[in-house]
Amino acid sequence: MRGVTFGRALALVLLAATPVRAQATLTIVAPAAPGGGWDQTARVMQRVLAEIEPATSVPVDNVPGAAGTIGLARFVQSERGNPHALLVTGLVMVSGAIINASPVSLADATPIARLAGETEVIVVPAASPHRTLADLIAAFKQDPGRVSWGGGSAGGTDDLLVRLLAEQVGLPASRVNYIAFAGGGAALAAVLGGQVTAAVSGYGEFAGQIAAGQLRPLAISAAARMAGIDAPTLREAGVSLDLANWRGIVAPPGLSDAEQDALIARITRLATSEAWRQALAQHGWEDQFLAGAGFRQFLLAEQARIEAVLRRLAATDTAATPRFALTITPTMVPDATLVVLGLVTASLVIARARRPAPASPSPGARMTVILAATLLFQPWLMLTAGFIASSTLLFAVTASSWRGIRPAPMILARDLLVGVAFATIIYVVFTSALGVALPSFSLLTSHFSLP
């Protein structure tokens, strides 16, 4: 029995490693690195779609960066009018686009559906004196600076929740002593070790420790109590606020109504399937399915609410007077680095100037310049002429410049031949066997683009 399972699974692995030429493709762009929530959402969708639409191949494309706004910008630009591409999105992208002053926002994409949400939870270590949210808020109101809140990156869901909470209890958002960590996991270590007073993150991040009794959940941010979670909602605890770390799907701009409706129908089929329900339960995601016009409304409201709190935060930030003379501002270290860099470079130049310059003939100066120029030219060439052509050129130029002489036609031809063979092998291995796309010919409209 087991042998059969192994054989089947191995076949699946091999199958995944060979190009499947299905009739239809639906690319899901996860605007984050593998492992995060958006990537997981994309890959669960990929799995479920494989079950309910066996004829469609569903590649997942990771385009990480800047709270997803790099992926969004690329998606909006290069997939315009393509009804076979979807982008995973969520709350963090809404705030990320505002904070990073991104030239594109979710308003530029076509909303398809909100799929799932995860409730946030406020926790304290089991040994903490704060038994309830009221205790914590009382301490917070008494001396906001003394209560440190750990959570994920600045401007993310966790940060927003604490700022919104502060405003609800009558404190300016800028008075929050929010300690940003690289993610909920790092914040978990800090709160377990008692480094911060409280921590905020998605429930899943803390679920194991809550179950083991190492963390005490004080409140969840969902609108209503949730099954299996023994904690009141913020509203029950007297704070009129709810926030979900929702995730959804958008399509590129420029789709016809029919194309939009078709996509919405497909995603609705996905979201109502049994496999999807199981996946939601496994990941502890709450079903928050909301399609089409409803999702569009929701996006607008969410955008307005977050923009408002971020604007108030920025306004009070500049007005706040520094309380500590020795606080290190975000610009201090980089500025100091630049000053020292300038000083040491200047003294190096002076020291070298005193020394007689070593007569260093550079036999290959010209070739070096040619090679450097070829390298700087690579990004453009790879995008327009494709990986094979650009790599062949780079290979031949490097080989010739290493020889340091103008190559004879025969030698050049051989270099080009070896180069094209080498580049082709790499190209085939990467795109076909590994499923990692490299630019091919005439990909001017591809989703790879220069910054």
Binding site: A66, I70, G185, G208, M367, L434
Partner: protein, 497 residues
């Protein structure tokens, strides 16, 4: 405990699980060698495919991929001067010089055997001390991390080179620090040195910089000096490690393990800091520190061991806290969740067979990897016999491929070319290369922890001295600084990475 481990071996040694383990380590070695394809991406690609598989089998395969990639990653660093991921950046510094000196076989062998020794010892430490390690790791707050960074800075300043090159070394270090502060500031969300370019918001990836400085900078430098000055010897002496190389390797392996495992277990750990510290320590302890940067085997043996030991260390917070401390660990966590398992304090209780099966499979996987990798050494070394123009052509193609496939952004190609030119200029003005990497890796982390610690303490600088662990680390840093001076060993004349 021993019973648990026994139970684990019973699971891991089932033929079906052995097969999955073998598939994992083979795949892992392959992706480790391929530039830009890391274990994180591989596991993510396989995740949907393995749905419906027995969780133990899938996780054994994933763990094999993780360990295998750590083995394979050093290969491109040594042969092509092109590190595929941040964990093997340090290996490239001396590993490639060894390859140029005809000792590629020895470098690859010391990396493979060192990885085996470190992987096995660290897995042993993982099975024996995981609960205790977690307690220690959690005691590490931002103040302690900052103190640790100070200690690391003090230790690696030796890498800056002798008095002659010290000024140039500082220029390199400051360049690295400046590059490190590009991007969104993690604490305030403020963009720094991004000049309105969205591509720069996420900062500059050390792997891209390493590829540019090492592979591209070196090739430009070679070309500028003309073909007659280049001496690459495919093989000098024995293919395998000589008796002397064994003698010089075993201590760095053990020290690397001792550094790598606990640092990997720290929630804000990773492989960069331990590999860098191992390099610095080996240089301090070496009989001939002047050889560092020119192909010292200790500089490959130590960091490679530290790298593999830290990979095992990463599993401590993952299994006991459900806390991923690296990209690969994050994907492994997603894998656990896909199978409905919640890593954390209760996982050992609820799923002992699975946890101990995976741990036991790591021992088995390590042995498999050694058997798999040693015969490959001979094959890899043959690569160096390729005619020189084609070898360099190949290196540049692989370098640009590696730079592109890390994030699949064309901006990275431009960056890697610019950094390559910078690497050429640094070589031209006789400035050392390694400090750029040190500044780039250590700088941003140190700054974040400093500011985070001060933010938690509300601006009170005394936290660094009143917290015992932090005070001890700082005292060690001071002691090493003084001890280093008192020892008065003549510093090496110049470092030529």
């Amino acid at each position: 405990m021993m019973e648990d481990l026994w139970l684990g071996f019973v699971v891991a040694l089932q033929p079906i699980n052995l097969l999955w383990g073998l598939a994992g380590v083979t795949l892992g070695t392959a992706v480790g060698v391929l530039p830009g394809i890391g274990p994180a991406l591989t596991v993510a690609l396989l995740l949907p495919v393995t749905y419906g598989l027995d969780p133990t089998a899938a996780l054994i395969m994933f763990a094999g991929i993780y360990y295998g990639a750590m083995y394979g990653g050093s290969t491109t660093s040594i042969l092509l001067n092109t590190p595929g991921e941040s964990a093997t950046i340090v290996t490239a510094i001396d590993g490639h010089q060894m390859a140029r000196n005809g000792r590629a076989g020895a470098a690859l062998a010391t990396a493979a055997i060192g990885s085996f020794v470190a992987g096995t010892l660290a897995t042993l430490a993982l099975s024996l001390t995981a609960p205790w390690m977690v307690g220690m790791a959690l005691a590490f707050g931002s103040a302690e991390y900052f103190a640790l960074m100070v200690l690391a800075f003090v230790m690696v300043t030796t890498v800056l080179g002798g008095s002659g090159a010290r000024l140039a070394g500082w220029v390199s270090l400051m360049l690295g620090l400046a590059l490190g502060s590009v991007g969104i500031d993690g604490l305030s969300g403020q963009a720094r040195f991004t000049f309105g370019v969205p591509y720069l918001l996420d900062g500059i990836d050390p792997v891209i910089v390493a590829i540019g400085l090492f592979a591209i900078g070196e090739t430009l430098w070679m070309v500028s000096r003309g073909p007659d000055t280049d001496h690459v010897v495919p093989l000098r002496g024995s293919l395998w490690m000589t008796r002397d190389e064994w003698r010089r390797s075993w201590k760095p392996w053990l020290r690397g393990t001792a550094i790598g495992f606990p640092m990997g277990a720290l929630p804000a750990g990773g492989a960069e800091l331990p590999t860098l510290m191992s390099y610095a320590i080996e240089k301090r302890l070496a009989a001939a520190p002047g050889e560092f940067g020119r192909g010292a085997i200790e500089a490959v043996a130590g960091p490679e061991a530290a790298n593999n030991a830290s990979a095992a260390g990463t599993l401590v917070p993952l299994l006991t806290l459900g806390l991923p401390t690296s990209a690969t660990a994050a994907v492994l966590l997603a894998a656990f969740q896909q199978f409905g398992l919640q890593p954390g304090p209760l996982l050992f209780e609820h799923e002992p067979k699975l946890v101990w099966g995976v741990i036991a499979s790591l021992y088995v996987g390590n042995a498999m990897l050694l058997v798999l990798n040693l015969p490959l050494v001979g094959l890899w070394v043959k690569l160096l016999a390729i005619p020189r123009p084609w070898l360099y052509g190949g290196i540049l193609v692989v370098a640009s491929l590696g730079a592109f496939s890390v994030h699949r952004a064309a901006g990275d190609l431009l960056l890697v070319a610019l950094v390559g030119v910078l690497g050429f200029v640094l070589r031209r003005v006789e400035a050392p290369i390694a400090p750029v990497m040190i500044g780039l890796i250590l700088g941003p982390a140190a700054e974040q922890h400093l500011r985070r610690a001060l933010s938690i303490s509300q601006g009170d600088w005394s936290v660094f001295l009143t917290r015992p662990l932090s005070a001890a680390l700082l005292a060690a840093a001071v002691a090493i600084a003084l001890f280093g001076v008192a020892r008065g060993r003549p510093a090496p004349v110049r470092i030529e990475p």
